[in-house]
Subunit: 199 residues, 2 copies
Amino acid sequence: MKKYPTHLIKLIDVLKRLPGVGNKSAERFAFDLIDWPQSHLKEMAAVLDSLRDHLDHCQECGCLVGKEGCPFCNLDKRDPKLLCIVAYPKDVFALEDTHEYRGVYHVLGNLLSPLEGKGPEQLRLSQLRQRIADLQVKEVVIALDSTLEGDATALYLKKELENSQLSISRLAFGLPMGSSLDYVDGGTLARAFAGRARF
Amino acid sequence: MKKYPTHLIKLIDVLKRLPGVGNKSAERFAFDLIDWPQSHLKEMAAVLDSLRDHLDHCQECGCLVGKEGCPFCNLDKRDPKLLCIVAYPKDVFALEDTHEYRGVYHVLGNLLSPLEGKGPEQLRLSQLRQRIADLQVKEVVIALDSTLEGDATALYLKKELENSQLSISRLAFGLPMGSSLDYVDGGTLARAFAGRARF
């Protein structure tokens, strides 16, 4: 660390807690912040300071909600028979952005990852079973990342829910929209081929 | 913008003011911040809130200083006959890190950039002249970026200071340490060739 003034070192250390921000980026942010108008600094401080008062996880679905309550658990507007399982709150907003889905959500909060010490007990599974029973869910859509952890978690969920009278599906794998065949990786192409549909 | 809760939108907007942070990065930061422990959030808020109370620009050299005063303007420990001109406070810390330089600094605060509306009046030139006279400076080292703006500013400074009895130099251009000839760009190679020294 260079010979910065004490408060600058503190600022850099705090900024380095942000994801993907190392020493260089934190320094860049810090030197920029110093030149911010005082009002912007105060605003950022206030937003961070009151974060917990304004944002929380919904007790039901686990998604992120403001003081206005959870819009995804409003059963007047959503179909409780259809439940979509996602890993993180941000996935809910990504799915909502497609305007394709009108069911309810369940946020696991994690993906299985033994290397990071994340086991089934961190997946909010008891709440999931409770909600499936309470809402009399008929269909479950597993919307998890197409990564090693996503695949493992999806398989685990399938086994866990298999004995119930649920229809279980998972998001389709294939070519992303607007892609050229020769730029798509082999794994994706193989999955797209295996999942080909009558045209 | 996705249908985020109000406070989350505010947080993302505030984070987007950081340099090089667009929508995606700000969203990533925001969702990470939500999971931070309350103590870390409060700490970051406090550091930002009190930034101006702890950090300021030195009235003399223009560098960034804490409450402990400017270590680079302490003439008991630094040679005031040698003055190094840099563009930004962060450059001072980079040069200090080399442990090669024991003179004083002058931070311009900007580089000439007509496209960005930055002219000579934004370069703290009157303070520079005043300090050169006050400190009875004998040698000036121009330590500016090797960019178009850096070159333009260096040439401008040279013209401005030419009539005084100063020895003026600029940082050397050439191969960076540890580089292979065939990976160095043509411009650098040409400057290194032109600046070759007896070996």
